[in-house]
């Protein structure tokens, strides 16, 4: 009877479907004996894909230069896996990376949330993980296997607070995106700012991707702060700034390195004028490594890179450097130790040294958008 035959064929199909990933994975490991591999988990699709795509381009630039330099006799490969900024996917990818014996270190993820979910896997398995952007205060505390080369908000917040206090700003309104990063950015800044004698007149969080800030802006205007300190990424930044100007509100805006992106100027145009922020990457820097990177980036993308690609570029190079140091017997443990020993690594975002807490010690710069360009200022 047809009724009984149908389920059977479908069952066979399902069986085949179950067997297929097994077969591909087995084939994959067999081929992977030769080159050394780095895993890179990042959002290549989904709402934050633009960041992941930037990381990927930066990593490809870094890797091509490294393999061409001949610093190692074997090739290094990077395996990119798309996490969609989804913890479920991130953990699955982490397991996949851990399973591949050729992978000696992992880069990523983009958000702290996914990085930390995956970190549980890396901690168990003993896999060094270096995130270019996870800034959650607890991230590096998860285990001795977690590193990051981005300054945490524990550093950036007080730095900005000191800057604004020095400028004579006493009353500030705080606006942050409702993410782990936004929360910590606001918190570290507020603590330092109030400790320095300033006053926070308003604290507001918004859901990322909010199209309309005007109600919030009007509220800020009413609180009459001397300045607004903002923890947002470039797209929200552009919307925020544009709508502020529309409403005719003229309050200086300060922000973090996350908003340091050429796209802010592209999207907000003249309205972006006067936005002040901190960064550790200046594309206009005369340093040769920066010039090289910027030139390569412009070749691929046609515009100058922002803070995040630079972070990724450095992260890849730091990881590669650690692999070189542990060569010829490259193991995950040796790469971890080499990473921990990173000292004065000359990157495009300044020199990186990992402290005993696996946090980077880095220099920040102050910039402001003047005449449509991020301009370093010495205030």
């Amino acid at each position: 009877m047809t009724l009984t035959r149908h389920p059977l064929t479908r069952r066979t199909l399902v069986g085949l479907a179950l067997a297929a990933p097994l077969a591909t994975a087995l084939a994959g490991t067999a081929l992977a004996a030769d080159p050394i591999r780095i895993g890179y988990q990042l959002p290549l699709t989904g709402n934050t894909a633009q960041y992941g795509q930037d990381f990927k381009t930066a990593a490809e630039i870094a890797l091509a230069r490294f393999n061409a330099s001949g610093r190692l006799p074997v090739k290094v490969e990077i395996v990119f896996e798309d996490s969609r900024s989804d913890a479920k996917e991130g953990v699955t990818i982490a397991r996949k990376f851990v399973d591949d014996p050729a992978i000696v270190g992992v880069l990523g993820d983009f958000t702290s949330g996914v990085s930390m979910a995956s970190a549980q896997v890396y901690k168990e398995a003993g896999m060094p993980q270096l995130s270019q952007s996870a800034s959650h205060p607890d991230y590096a505390k998860i285990s001795e296997w977690q590193f990051r080369n981005i300054t945490t908000q524990a550093g950036e917040g007080p730095y900005n607070a000191a800057w604004m206090l020095k400028k004579g700003i006493r009353k500030v309104a705080l606006v942050g995106e409702q993410t782990d990063w936004g929360q910590t950015s606001v918190k570290y800044f507020a603590d330092a700012f109030e400790a320095g004698g300033g006053k926070v007149v308003l604290t507001e969080y918004f859901n990322r991707g909010l199209p309309d800030f005007r109600a919030l802006l009007t509220k800020i205007q009413r609180a009459k702060p001397d300045a607004v300190y903002t923890a947002f990424f470039y797209e929200d930044a552009a919307n925020f700034i544009k709508q502020m100007k529309q409403l005719g509100i003229n309050i200086p805006i300060y922000s973090t390195s996350a908003a340091h992106n050429q796209k802010v100027i592209e999207l907000a145009g003249a309205d972006a004028e006067g936005l002040s922020l901190t960064t550790n990457f200046m594309p206009s820097s005369p340093k040769p490594e920066v010039k090289d990177f910027v030139a390569e980036w412009v070749k691929v993308r046609g515009a100058e890179p922002g803070q995040f690609p630079a972070q990724a570029f450095d992260a890849v190079n730091i990881m590669l450097d650690a692999i070189v140091k542990s060569y010829p017997n490259v193991t995950r443990a040796k790469v971890r130790d080499a990473l921990a020993a990173t000292k004065d690594f000359p990157g495009v975002t300044g020199t990186t040294t990992f402290g005993p807490d696996r946090e980077p010690v880095k220099q920040l710069m102050k910039v402001r958008i003047v005449n449509g360009v991020f301009t370093p200022i010495g205030e």
Binding site: L3, P21, A117, Q178, G182, Q183
Partner: protein, 336 residues
Amino acid sequence: MSDFARKGWIGKILVLLLVFGLVPAALAFAGKGYFFQVANLVLIFALLAASLHLVTGAAGLLHLGHAAFYGIGAYVAALMGTDLKLGFIWGLPAAGLVAAAFAFVVALPTMRLVSIYFAVATLAIGQMINTVLLNWVAVTKGPNGVMLFSGINLFGFALKAPLAVYFVVAVLVSLSIFVLHRLSHSYYGNALRSLREDDQCADAMGVNTVRLKIEVFTISAFFAGVAGALWAYTTGYVSPNDFGFSTSILILAMIVVGGLGSLPGAIIGAVVLILLPELLRGLGDLRNVMVGLVMFFSILFMPKGLFGEVSALSLVRRGFGLKWGAAPSNREVGWQ
């Protein structure tokens, strides 16, 4: 008894053999954490789809906020594990019960709504719960999420090995699905289906429709909560993003692809929609387009799903010994 019962056992033993023999053997042989992760994910989503099946497939209530109850379960388990130091043994039932309690409260006013009104109400409730998870920082730790380091600890035995974790998940999911199976393939299930077909008419047949809806919504949320606890303990990290509208839609897509109204279909739908994106990883950026296309074509060419209700029901009856003969002489065999 005898003949039919024996026939039933064969079907059940085959399924159990697959879940507890073949799959773990293959997983252990491959020795890959990745496969264990995918297998756990499949099991958890199979439970989510099976629990949604009860509400949407059987009782016909289009539920667009299932992921919120999954999230409540995950948060209860994770917060109990970290803040209260109450481990898996307490966290698991608590996750189910709290999710069910929420569902019950929510169900009281909403269950009188019909059709699309009900769907929108569940959508709104799902979004509200998610908003609370994201913004009630004091309790849920907000966007930071909750990290759960403790792992599964059963009566003093800390289960570390992936195989052991798989078995815990598999046993719990199987038990839950067994309960859901009993509920949907029984006279109780028939009453549920009558709600889907014509609830006014069911009322005239003496079925207390509102009570039944509240009951089934609550039961379904209980199992979603259990699935949430399993997710929290297998991942070690929960954050509000995992329990949003898109997850609700994913679960709904599972039961639709599998065949609305069929429990085996719901489970197969979960298997397909979890495995498919993994299989398509090689396609890179295009894989989500592919998932959308597969979903579309499966709806277009298999309107009854991979495993429509009618064929599923007759298979269950044949395979699980619930078949009755056409002649009244076999009449003692009906639903069990």
